[in-house]
Amino acid sequence: MKRGRTLPAAALQALALALGLAVIAPAAHAQEAKKPRPDMIMKGDAACTRCHDETEEYPVLGIAKTRHGVRADARTPTCVSCHGQSETHANKPPDAKERPKPDRIFKRATGSPAEAQNQACLTCHQGGKRIHWQSSMHASRDVTCASCHQVHLAHDRARDKFTQAETCLACHKELRAQINRPSRHPIREGKVTCADCHNPHGSAGPKNMVRDNVNDTCYACHMEKRGPFVRNHQPVQENCAICHNPHGTTAPNLLKQRPPFLCQSCHEPTGHRSSPGSFPGGPTSTSAANLVARGCVNCHTNIHGTNNPLDTPASGQRVFRR
């Protein structure tokens, strides 16, 4: 049984050097010198892959496994279309102590200026979902494409439903605890992703919403809340985020606060609406049931709106009870 299934780099290197020194290398070098080195992946990449491969600090060959590495698609880039001609990097000037860096380096804090990095990508990717990139908060805060995307890897974690959140949470730390609250969307299971609701490349909606507003974004999965209804609940129609924190809460159903406190932040203090929170052992009265079980929605079950056209007694549909 063989071991060391990844690159037998050290063995190969030692073998090549030994053999080269002994017999083979001079002949091989002579033979190689006669014909140009072939490209490995992209057109013209021989100039780069003569030095850069998987053993480098920045492995590059993995790009061959991605869509960027498909030469049959005439739109795909070459090394220089992203990194620039990088003449002095490819051919180190004799007087240079260190090899100059490529024209364009894709690293967040130590690479080329963010705009220069991003422009390289936008040359091809400006259309579609990235039309609004330049107006986005990410662009204005110098976020680069490479901050999130791993272009040279077959597996780009930003585009994988199971790992995307890690990418976003690398900066949005305040949400890390929220998405693990008891009431949450299934983000950590990879069933809902950040990009289901937000377009990180910018959008015409607030907060980079994928649809034009918060509610339309929520309706994509919760269309039963759209209505309109015979009885509308005003904040429901205006913005789901008035009552809900979609990133996660301790209160059930992603509510920002538990009833009755949440409801009391809008409703007039008449009748039972101003009752303090209480927790009896059973359903004794309306006001006494406002903090236990489902709180106010023990009774006001159709809180998002009701389409009941009946004029029922005891204010049935009027207050979202039927």
């Binding site: 063989k2 060391g4 990844t6 190969l12 290197q13 073998l15 090549a16 053999l19 033979q31 480098e56 060959l61 061959a64 496994k65 049959a72 400006q126 259309g127 579609g128 039309i131 609004h132 107006s135 305040e174 008891p182 299934p186 034009d212 507003n213 269309m223 039963e224 209505g227 015979v230 005003q234 129609q237 205006e238 913005n239 301790t250 538990r258 406190f261 409703h267 007039e268 203090p269 101003s274 303090p276 929170g277 927790f279 059973g282 359903p283 903090l291 236990v292 489902r294 009774c299 079950t301 159709n302 389409n307 009941n308 056209p309 009946l310 029922t312 005891a314 549909q317 009870r321 039927r322």
Partner: protein
């Protein structure tokens, strides 16, 4: 990560050896192929949960004690013409499975079909006599009390196709059909208060057709988006005595929306770009009433909402060091639903008996400038405006305000490029006010209660500070520090002290990443988030001081100590407390409410052992612990005798063993 750099590149060695030795070193050609050809994988195995985990398995499908089949994989084929065939599946043995087939000629045509399930297992066990659970006909105490577990399952099938056309045009079509079935915890309240379930049997469909153009300067994306909702249960009937003679309760009505939209961007020069979006949507809700209205002859609501969106933005760099960004957005959601009389109400009612179509018009704008300073610092400042206009009604139960306006001023400094320290500090001050609050009247025309400014309409001053620091302390150690602090002060209605008073939100975190060696890397983080809110209510006021505070930390380790072994783990812990303090400032005393505490512990360990070049054995161990003292259900019994139960300490050990194989 610090990687070893070989003096002689591997590919050069391999190429040279291949040239010299030819077939004798075919293995090296294989090695290059391994590095450059798309890889297919399959992972199959078995897992076991040692006990029921209502929280652990809420969405993962691992909710019950027992064995589970583990099966995931991706088959990728790519030919020289750039044709991809991808078949991928995840969690195929669980109720969270997904399967996708994709076939495309890159840059030419493509199509895909996708199937996915999201199952939400309710975290509670219901001890009830209700029968007909999940159906539109339910019988309270139709049987003796027994334990019931609820779940809601979404099954979605998505079809998509795309075609690239000449001259930069492309067309994309996507259609998604989702069936949502199951039962959700519901009920009815008053006298009596009974347990019921929300019978879910719904279909949601979305169709999107997009025509796009991508040119050097101009990009366009326009098309149609349709969203359709059908509820196969329009009402629920039960033997409830709550509303005698009216056994029906409404369920969400079917509705649909059609939107036409066009987005575009144009690069005027290398330093100036504009973008826009215009959209018009027509939504309707004309689901037939499940019963003839009492007070009119309508067969349906006739609901119709038209929404118009116009957005424009421009980004420019008029000077090499000065960048400007401007945006304006106008959205008019116009609820054109006809008014009809539905409810006979008394003079003192806070409703006039008609339905209340809700329209809202939003005008928002933003202007931001940033200027480059020495040492890669950038100073920025901006102003943001948000105006909302709402329609109002003669009679209301809650305070109305036709217009709110919020203006925000921001200033910040940041440093994005540096080998050692990057970060930023920003401050935002927002001020929201608006038109005078309308005096609330009841149906008779008499003045109603006018004491509370709803939280989303009230005057509000908000101050927000954000600090972020990223420090590459050493070659091995990087640190991140984040601090967010926000303070809100709310205004009240004239002559009233009631309503929202103030709010505060803080979030602090420190993250560290350390590279122990080429083979081992570790991470650690700690955070605290603290949200507070105070409000007053009741004419003899009492104050609610609400607080949610969470302390969390996490540790992670990843390593590859040998070429044949990968291992690692993650540990996270959160301790969350909800405080709900009540204090009577006058009048009757208030109850002391116990805090809610929740503790979450998660440990995930894995090891991947290579038994062959392309085959590994993977072992996963998960420990999940959920502790809560949530008493909202433990002190509660429905009139019908139903109780809702939750194990206050839920501990699950899950172990999975799988075989992982890859090939090309």
């Amino acid at each position: 990560m610090n990687r070893h750099t070989h003096a002689v590149p591997l590919t050069a060695i391999a190429a040279a050896l291949l040239a010299v030795f030819g077939p004798a070193l075919a293995a090296d050609a294989e090695e290059i192929a391994r590095l450059t050809k798309p890889e297919s994988t399959i992972e199959f195995g078995i897992g076991h949960a040692d006990r029921d985990g209502r929280r652990f398995g809420q969405y993962s499908g691992l909710n019950e004690k027992g064995a589970y089949g583990l099966l995931s994989g991706t088959l990728i084929q790519r030919d020289d013409a750039g044709t991809w065939f991808i078949l991928s599946g995840r969690n195929l043995g669980l109720e969270s499975r997904e399967l996708r087939l994709e076939h495309n000629r890159q840059g030419n045509w493509g199509y895909f079909i996708e199937y996915g399930e999201i199952t939400r297992f309710d975290p509670y066990t219901i001890n009830t006599g209700l029968t007909g659970i999940g159906t539109p006909i339910q019988t309270i105490n139709g049987t003796g009390l027994r334990n019931v577990d609820l779940k809601v399952k979404r099954e979605a099938v998505t079809l998509g196709a795309s075609k690239y056309l000449p001259a930069g045009w492309d067309v994309q079509v996507r259609y998604k059909n989702e069936e949502k079935d199951g039962a959700r915890l519901w009920g009815e309240g008053g006298a009596p208060t009974n347990f019921l379930t929300d019978p879910i049997n719904q279909t949601t469909r979305q169709l999107e057709v997009i025509l796009g153009y991508t040119g050097e300067k101009l990009q366009l994306s326009g098309g149609y988006y349709g969203a359709f909702f059908d509820n196969h249960n329009s009402f629920l009937t039960s033997n409830s005595t709550l509303f005698a003679g009216f056994p029906q309760r409404a369920l969400p009505p079917g509705n649909q929306s059609h939107q036409l939209h066009l987005s575009g961007g144009y690069t005027f020069s290398p330093t100036t770009r504009g973008n826009f979006k215009v959209a018009y949507a027509k939504a309707s809700q004309t689901d037939g009433f499940f019963i003839t209205p009492t007070n009119n002859s309508r067969g349906d609501l006739g609901g119709r909402v038209d929404t118009t969106l116009v957005q424009m933005g421009i980004v420019a760099r008029p000077l090499p060091k000065l960048s400007l960004t401007g945006n304006v957005r106008y959205e008019d959601k116009n609820d054109k639903t006809p008014l009809a009389f539905y409810t006979v109400v008394a003079g003192g009612s806070t409703l006039d008996g008609f339905n209340e179509p809700r329209s809202i018009r939003t005008l928002a704008g933003k202007l931001e400038a940033s200027y480059a300073l020495p040492m890669s610092f950038r100073l920025s400042g901006g102003i943001e405006y948000d105006q909302k206009k709402r329609n109002t009604f003669r009679v209301a139960s809650v305070t109305q305000r036709q217009e709110t306006e919020e203006i925000s001023y921001s200033v910040g400094i940041r440093r994005s490029m540096s080998d050692s320290v990057t970060g930023g500090l920003s401050y935002i001050h927002s001020d929201r006010d608006g038109s005078p609050f309308l005096t609330t009247i009841v149906n008779s025309g008499a003045t109603g209660s006018n004491l509370i400014a709803p939280i989303h309409l009230s005057d509000r001053k908000r101050d927000k500070v954000r600090l972020s620091v990223n420090w590459q302390a050493t070659e091995q150690l990087s640190l991140q520090f984040r601090a967010d602090e926000s303070r809100d002060n709310y205004g009240q209605r004239d002559g009233s002290i009631l309503g929202a008073q103030k709010g505060q939100a803080s979030a602090y975190s420190v993250d560290a990443a350390y590279t122990f060696s080429d083979k081992w890397q570790g991470t650690a983080w700690i955070s605290r988030d603290d949200t507070r809110f105070e409000q007053l209510t009741r004419t003899t006021p009492w104050q609610a001081s609400l607080r949610n505070v969470g302390d969390s930390f996490g540790l992670g380790l990843r390593g590859k100590p040998y070429s044949w072994l990968e291992a690692g783990g993650d540990l996270s812990y959160s301790n969350i407390t909800d405080e709900n303090r009540q204090q009577a400032l006058a009048g009757a005393a208030t109850s002391v409410i116990p805090d809610f505490t929740t503790k979450l512990t998660k440990l995930n360990l894995f090891a991947k052992y290579a038994v062959e070049k392309n085959t590994s054995i993977r072992v996963n161990y998960v420990y999940d612990r959920f502790d809560t003292n949530d008493w909202t259900w433990t002190t509660w019994t429905y009139t019908d005798g139903t109780r809702v139960l939750q194990n206050p300490v839920q501990k699950v050990h899950f172990i999975g063993i799988s075989v992982y194989h890859r090939w090309q």
